[in-house]
C-alpha cells in the first residue's frame, strides 16, 4: 500500500512539444504557459536542448526565447504529472496559445 502511494507520488511523464504560433513564446504565451504549469503540484521542467529550466517561472520560460518551430522537452514529476503534461500539450500544440500559426 505504502509502496504504491510512493510510485504514485513520483509519477514521471515527459513529452516533446513544438511551438506552433507564428510569434513564438513571447510574453503573453509565456504567461499562459506558467499559469497552467502552476495549477499542478508536480515539478515541471522545460528544456530546449541547451538549458533546462523551471516550467513554473515566467522569467525562465520567457528567457528560453523559443521561436516558432522550436521543440521543447517537458518533464513533469509528481502526483498529477500526467494531467500537467496533457494540459501543457493542449495549450502549446492544439490551442497554440490562441494565436495564429504560419500557413504552409
Amino acid at each position: 500500500m505504502q509502496a504504491e502511494e510512493d510510485t504514485l507520488e513520483n509519477e514521471e511523464y515527459e513529452a516533446e512539444l513544438e511551438i506552433k504560433n507564428a510569434e513564438g513564446l513571447h510574453m503573453r504565451p509565456a504567461m499562459q504557459f506558467v499559469d497552467i504549469a502552476n495549477r499542478f503540484d508536480s515539478e515541471i521542467n522545460v528544456s530546449n536542448g541547451e538549458t533546462n529550466v523551471d516550467g513554473k517561472s515566467i522569467m525562465n520560460i520567457s528567457m528560453l526565447a523559443a521561436t516558432c518551430g522550436t521543440k521543447l522537452r517537458i518533464k513533469a514529476k509528481g502526483p498529477d504529472a500526467r494531467q500537467a503534461i496533457d494540459a501543457l500539450r493542449e495549450l502549446v500544440e492544439e490551442k497554440h496559445f490562441d494565436e495564429p500559426t504560419p500557413k504552409k
Binding site: 507564428a22 510569434e23 513564438g24 513571447h26 510574453m27 503573453r28 509565456a30 504567461m31 506558467v34 499559469d35 529550466v53 523551471d54 513554473k56 517561472s57 515566467i58 522569467m59 525562465n60 520567457s62 528567457m63 526565447a65 521561436t67 495564429p100 504560419p102 500557413k103
Partner: protein, 579 residues
C-alpha cells in the same frame, strides 16, 4: 523651428509645452553589507515585491476600459514576474552570497535578464526588454521610496518628450493633461505605441534625436496623422496647426457615422479608398477606418527594425498576416524601397554624397539580387492567400522594369521547380514617382497592370526640392503646374492603355487636393488610414461634375500660388463644414 519626421503610431494632433521625461535609469552603487544584515536586506526585497504587486494590482483594476485589454496584458505579465519564485530566489540568493543591498541585487538581476532579451534576434521578443526595465524601476521605486514620475501631478497640458517610454510611464499618463507623445526610439509595436493608441493620445516615435533638440517648456506640435513633430513652431505654423487640430476633433465625431458607407460622389461615381501601411498590425486599422484594401504596403520595416537580415519566412509571415486580414480585398505590396537611410548607408564604406539620386529602392534591389529574390519569393508565396499585387518603386526607365520583371519570372520558375504554389496571374505594377517614368508612362504602361503615382517623390524630383530642408521647403508643392502636368500625363496614358491607376502619395490625403485628383480622372487612392474617413466624407459631399470643373480651371492656371489659393477656396465653398 525644427521639423522632425518619425513614425506615426497614434493619430491626432496636439500642441503643448514639452515635458521631457528623464528616462535615465537609477544607478545603484554596489554597497557591501555585513553578514548579519542579510536577513534585513532579504526582507526588504520581499517587501518590495509585495508592495509592487499591491501597486500593480490597483493599477490593473483602474484600467477597466474595454480598450484597455492590451495594457492589462502587459500588467498581467509584470504581475507574473513579481510572483515568480525563481526570480525572487535569484535576487535573495545574490543578497545572501554576494552580501549586497536589496536594491543592488534587484537591479543587477533584472538588468541581466533584460540584456538577455536584447540579444535575442527576434524583434518581437527583444522589445520585451522594456518590460524588464519597467519591473526593475517598479521594484526600485518601492525600495528607494522615490516618488512616482512627476507626470502624475500635472496641472497643465503637456507633450511628453522622451528617449523611450516604458509601459508604466505611458499608462500612468493622465489623458486630461498629456496631449501628445514623442519619442526618439520605438516602433509601431513598442509598448508606448500600443498604450498611446489605446488611450487615444496622438503619438509619433522613432524621431531619433528629438530629445537633443528640445528643452523643457518648448512649444511642441505632435502630428500623429502626418508623422511629424515640430519644435518651437513659428506663428504661421501654430495657426495652421490650431486649425488642423480643431478640424480633426470635430471631424472625428462626425466621421464615426460614415465609416461603413461607400465612397460615392453625390452624382454616383464610386472612388476606391485604400490604406497605406507600414507594419502588418496596421492592417486592421485600415479596415476599422473603412478602407477597401491596401494600396501601398511598405516593406522596409523588416529591415529597419533588426540587425539581422530578414529571412524569406520573415517576409512571408509579415505579408501573410496582412493578406489574411483582407481576405479577398486587394493588397499591393511594394518591394523594398530602401535607400538614403541607415540600412543601405551602413553597408557602404563611405556614405553616398547624394543618396536621393543614388543607389536606392529598385536600383539597390537590382544590385542585391539575393535580397530581392528572397522578398519576391515571399510575395509570390502569399499571392495564393488573397488578392495580392506587387509593385516596383522608383522605376526610371523601361530597362529597369524589364529587369525587375525578368527576375520575378526567374523566381516563379524556381517555385515551379519546387512545386510551391503561387498566383501565376498576380498583377504587377510600378510606382510612377520620377519625372522620367511619368514622361514615358505610355511606354511603361504596355508592360504593367497598374500605375500608382507617388506624389511625394515625384514632386521632389520634378522641382529639385528637398522638403526637409527649411531653406528651400517653400518651393515644394504638389500642385505646382509642372507636377500637375506630369500627373495628368500619367493618368491619360494609363487610361489609354486601359490599366489601373491609383495615387498613393500624401497629395491624395490632402482634403484640398482630392477634388482636383478626381477631376483629373483618378478613381482609386491610397492614403494613411487615419485620413480615410475624412477623405470619404469629402467624396460623399461633392459631385464629379464639380470636380471636373475644378480640374479644368486648375490645369489652365500657370502659377502655383494661384492654384493653391483657388483650391482652398473651392474646398471651402463646397465643404464649409469640413474646413
Amino acid at each position: 523651428m525644427e521639423i522632425k519626421k518619425g513614425i506615426a503610431v497614434s493619430p491626432g494632433i496636439s500642441i503643448a509645452r514639452s515635458l521631457i521625461i528623464d528616462s535615465e535609469d537609477y544607478r545603484i552603487p554596489r554597497r557591501q553589507i555585513k553578514p548579519s544584515q542579510r536577513m534585513i536586506e532579504i526582507q526588504r526585497a520581499r517587501n518590495a515585491f509585495k508592495d509592487a504587486i499591491g501597486e500593480l494590482t490597483r493599477f490593473e483594476s483602474a484600467t477597466d476600459k474595454p480598450e484597455g485589454g492590451k495594457i492589462k496584458d502587459i500588467f498581467a505579465v509584470h504581475l507574473r514576474f513579481l510572483h515568480d519564485r525563481s526570480l525572487r530566489k535569484k535576487i535573495t540568493d545574490m543578497i545572501h552570497s554576494d552580501l549586497v543591498t536589496a536594491e543592488y541585487a534587484v537591479s543587477t538581476v533584472l538588468r541581466e535578464i533584460a540584456s538577455h532579451f536584447t540579444k535575442v534576434k527576434d524583434a518581437y521578443i527583444s522589445e520585451r526588454a522594456a518590460d524588464i526595465y519597467d519591473i526593475e524601476r517598479r521594484l526600485l521605486t518601492q525600495l528607494l521610496g522615490r516618488k512616482r514620475e512627476n507626470v502624475e501631478h500635472l496641472k497643465s497640458e503637456v507633450v511628453i518628450v522622451a528617449r523611450e517610454l516604458s509601459p508604466t510611464q505611458t499608462a500612468g499618463f493622465d489623458r486630461k493633461f498629456v496631449k501628445g507623445i514623442a519619442s526618439d526610439a520605438g516602433g509601431r509595436t513598442s509598448h508606448a505605441a500600443i498604450v498611446a493608441r489605446s488611450l487615444g493620445i496622438p503619438a509619433v516615435v522613432a524621431l531619433e534625436d528629438l530629445t537633443e533638440c528640445t528643452s523643457v517648456g518648448d512649444l511642441v506640435i505632435v502630428d500623429g496623422n502626418r508623422a511629424i513633430v515640430i519644435v518651437n513652431p513659428d506663428e504661421q505654423t501654430i495657426r495652421q496647426y490650431e486649425e488642423y487640430s480643431k478640424e480633426f476633433t470635430e471631424l472625428e465625431h462626425r466621421l464615426d457615422a460614415i465609416r461603413q458607407k461607400p465612397a460615392v460622389t453625390r452624382d454616383g461615381v464610386e472612388i476606391t479608398l485604400l490604406g497605406n501601411i507600414e507594419f502588418p498590425n496596421e492592417a486592421e486599422v485600415v479596415l476599422e477606418k473603412g478602407g477597401a484594401g491596401i494600396g501601398l504596403y511598405r516593406t522596409e520595416f523588416l529591415y529597419l527594425n533588426t540587425q539581422t537580415e530578414p529571412t524569406e519566412q520573415d517576409h512571408y509571415e509579415a505579408y501573410a498576416e496582412t493578406v489574411r486580414v483582407f481576405a479577398d480585398k486587394p493588397v499591393v505590396i511594394r518591394t523594398l524601397d530602401l535607400g538614403a537611410d541607415k540600412y543601405t548607408q551602413r553597408k557602404r564604406f563611405a556614405p553616398e554624397p547624394n543618396p536621393f539620386l543614388g543607389l536606392r529602392s529598385i536600383r539597390f534591389c537590382l544590385q542585391n539580387l539575393m535580397l530581392f529574390k528572397r522578398q519576391l519569393r515571399a510575395i509570390l508565396r502569399v499571392s495564393v492567400l488573397g488578392d495580392v499585387k506587387i509593385m516596383f518603386p522608383l522605376i526610371t526607365n523601361r530597362h529597369e522594369l524589364m529587369q525587375a520583371k525578368m527576375i520575378l519570372h526567374d523566381v516563379m520558375e524556381d517555385l515551379d521547380e519546387e512545386s510551391i504554389p503561387y498566383n501565376r496571374d498576380m498583377q504587377v505594377g510600378i510606382m510612377v514617382e520620377t519625372p522620367s517614368a511619368a514622361l514615358t508612362a505610355h511606354s511603361l504602361a504596355r508592360d504593367v497592370d497598374f500605375f500608382s503615382i507617388g506624389t511625394n517623390d515625384l514632386t521632389q524630383y520634378t522641382l529639385a526640392v528637398d522638403r526637409g530642408n527649411e531653406l528651400v521647403s517653400m518651393l515644394y508643392s504638389t500642385v505646382d503646374p509642372a507636377v500637375l502636368r506630369l500627373i495628368r500625363t500619367v493618368i491619360q496614358d494609363a487610361h489609354k492603355a486601359q490599366i489601373d491607376l491609383s495615387v498613393c502619395g500624401e497629395m491624395a490625403s490632402e482634403p484640398e487636393y482630392i477634388m482636383l485628383l478626381m477631376g483629373m480622372g483618378v478613381r482609386t487612392i491610397s492614403i494613411t488610414s487615419p485620413m480615410i474617413p475624412e477623405i470619404k466624407q469629402i467624396i460623399r459631399s461633392v459631385t464629379m461634375e464639380y470636380c471636373n470643373n475644378v480640374a479644368r480651371k486648375v490645369l489652365g492656371m500657370d502659377s502655383e500660388r494661384q492654384i493653391s489659393a483657388y483650391l482652398r477656396d473651392a474646398a471651402r465653398k463646397i465643404l464649409p463644414e469640413a474646413f
